[in-house]
């Protein structure tokens, strides 16, 4: 009893500080849980292709899924975190693919150089687009970016160096003298995906990520807090384009063939937007689910291409009606709510009034 009175006498600030420290501890535990879950998923993805029942084509298909996830991650940075709807990321995918293909054809560069160069060239275009579209918002931004995709499509269709619909055929890839097959591509893609995912995870928690989200939620409040709209919009465009550009380079090199028939197709851009909307545009796992969805639907319904098309539309409508924050939110929301309850409980353990102090003391005993 006397100790309880003492606790009360310390006054509210100290009590609030102490509960804050406990909350931080619980938060670190949640963080650790996230890392463990991510490590398990990565280990499964790493070792599964070695299982006896897995065939080469499956691994090749999986590599394409990863490429799509990465491309969608680029879209998520812009559309999900910064609030700028883009229907033009097929353009960045094309820039990445053609950069890597041309470098390989004329300079004999390999996979890694192609990916980095593809990302960099795409991000230069992203930067220009960010400056050009400074005053666009909402539907106007969507139309502007769509125009960009058409522009890139027209270029690759008509400028001779891109070889139009004939396309550029590439030799098989070599790394350190070893030819890379489906398995090699899969692992390169998997590692690139892991790196990019960790980068995005840290980005959205950083001050820069906060500025992106602030611009999304209220441009006025963001600007009055000192966020330079021009600079951070342009930065979001460049980062987003870089990631999608890397995905494009990987895509071109995996397929060994880059042609306007594929990359001038506006549906590529629409599919990427569809992927982040279905999966969840402002969720780390959103592009994973959405990217897999967009690649696997046509794969499963190869014979019924029209049906696949309709199915995509139906799923999109269902998602917008029942889970507007994306499919992943159906799982993430309850988990977050549960964790928030645990955080609140951790904060309340030394509640100020007697009743809650007693009841929380009881629950503390139960926990340990």
């Amino acid at each position: 009893m006397s100790s309880q009175e003492k606790g009360q006498n310390t006054g509210q600030p100290t009590g609030a500080r102490a509960s804050r420290a406990r909350i931080e501890g619980v938060k670190r535990r949640f963080e650790l849980q996230n890392w463990i879950a991510a490590a398990v998923v990565f280990a499964v993805a790493f070792f599964l292709p070695m299982a006896p029942f897995v065939e080469g084509w499956m691994v090749g298909q999986a590599a394409l899924v990863i490429v799509y996830i990465m491309a969608a991650q680029g879209v998520a940075i812009l559309t999900g975190y910064t609030g700028l709807v883009t229907v033009g990321h097929g353009g960045f995918l094309a820039i990445g693919a053609y950069t890597a293909a041309l470098l390989m054809k004329y300079f004999g560069t390999g996979l890694v150089v192609g990916m980095i160069a593809g990302g960099l060239v795409a991000s230069v275009f992203g930067c220009l687009l960010g400056l050009l579209f400074l005053r666009l918002a909402g539907a106007f931004m969507a139309i502007g970016t769509l125009g960009f995709a058409f522009f890139i499509g027209t270029i690759v269709n008509n400028v001779p160096i891109f070889e139009g619909r004939e396309g550029i055929s590439l030799p098989r890839n070599h790394v350190l003298g070893l030819e890379i097959g489906d398995f090699g591509f899969y692992y390169v893609a998997l590692i690139a995906l892991a790196v990019i995912t960790i980068f995005i995870w840290s980005l959205v928690r950083s001050g820069v990520g906060r500025a992106f989200k602030a611009l999304r939620d209220s441009e006025r409040a963001a600007e009055s807090s000192g966020v330079n709209r021009l600079a951070f919009r342009t930065l979001a465009f460049s980062v987003s384009a870089f990631i999608t550009g890397v995905a494009g380079a990987l895509n071109g090199l995996i397929v060994n063939y880059v042609s306007a028939e594929v990359y001038a197709d506006i549906w590529y851009s629409v599919d990427l937007l569809l992927a982040v909307v279905v999966g969840g545009s402002a969720m780390l796992m959103g592009p994973f689910v959405g990217g897999a969805f967009v690649v696997m639907i046509p794969f499963f319904f190869e014979e019924l291409a029209d049906f696949a098309f309709i199915l995509k539309g139906v799923v999109l409508i269902m998602v917008l009606m029942f889970a507007p924050a994306g499919v992943v939110s159906l799982v993430a929301r309850p988990v977050r709510a549960l964790r928030r309850r645990k955080l609140v409980a951790a904060g309340d353990r030394l509640g100020q009034d007697d009743v809650s102090a007693q009841s929380s003391a009881a629950s503390t005993g139960g926990d340990r």
Binding site: P13, A16, R17, S19, R20, I23, K27, F199, S202, L203, R205, S206, G207, V208, G209, R210, A211, K213, A214, D217, S218, R220, A221, A222, E223, S224, S225, G226, V227, N228, R229, A231, F232, L235, V239, A282, R340, L343, G347
Partner: protein, 254 residues
């Protein structure tokens, strides 16, 4: 010493003159209020001072530095933060994230920050620590992990204050801080305004409709009407001013 001064600021929209040669001077360390009947041009002037609106003529000086060419986001660097009339928070984000955005201009190199380099991480820890201190002062510690859209109105108002304070400003502009507040919440805001002014030595300039708020907390008041200066003085002087009374109550009374 003059902290924020505007000289003969004129703004017109089409043919309508919203501000007609308005001049005022906010002295350092004080709480200065701006009042006027509906449509007097208060909000327009407020937007000019926070640089969201460019004036047609006239000048703005911050600490005797001309800031006519500054953009809204540059004012924070000079030491000026603001709040909004209808709460303007980042609804989906937590209280902590909202407060931290206020410290945006203290981030340092965005590229180091983006890649979470060690220096940036140290800085982030420092900013978070500071944000928590502010949250403690404004009794928001329990709400730090809560998305602000879940908070009651009064708490959201305090988050806006906390965000402004996180910028470590020398001056805060408040746009109708007690609009939509009940009596209890108004009392709380009054206390916060006084606390911020006394403890942190921050100059306050506020636009307000609520007379009890203005008369209770302000050291000095400017009154504008139909876009022009009408009167200025201490609360006691303003309450006796016949021009002000007639502007608010109509000509017949005067």
């Amino acid at each position: 010493m003059s902290h924020l001064r505007c000289e003969e600021v004129t703004v017109s929209f089409g043919g309508v003159v919203a501000c007609d040669k308005i001049s005022l001077d906010v002295e350092e360390g004080r709480i200065v209020g701006l009042i006027g009947p509906n449509g007097a041009g208060k909000t327009t002037l407020f937007n000019v001072l926070s640089r969201f609106q460019q004036q047609d003529s006239g000048h703005i000086h911050y600490r005797d530095q001309n800031v006519d060419a500054k953009k809204p986001h540059q004012m924070v660097n000079l030491g000026m933060a603001r709040t909004f009339q209808n709460i303007n928070l980042f609804a989906e984000q937590t209280t902590l994230e909202n407060i931290l955005i206020g410290a945006h201009h203290l981030l340092g190199n965005p590229f180091a920050d983006m890649f979470s380099l060690p220096g940036a991480r140290r800085n982030e820890r420092k900013l978070t620590e500071r944000a928590m201190e502010i949250a403690e002062t404004l009794h928001l510690l329990d709400e730090l992990d809560n998305p602000v859209k879940n908070l009651p109105y009064g708490n959201q108002k305090r988050v806006e204050f906390a965000r402004a304070l996180a910028a470590e400003p020398e001056m805060i502009l408040l746009d109708e801080p007690v609009a939509g507040c009940n009596e209890e919440e108004t009392g709380e805001i009054k206390n916060i305004v006084r606390q911020v002014n006394e403890e942190f030595g921050i100059t306050i300039f506020l636009v307000e409709h609520d007379m009890s708020m203005v008369m209770d907390v302000c050291d000095y008041i400017y009154v504008i009407n139909f876009g022009a200066n009408l009167a200025d003085g201490t609360p006691a002087e303003i309450q006796r001013d016949s021009d002000v009374i007639s502007a608010y109550l109509g000509e017949e009374v005067a």
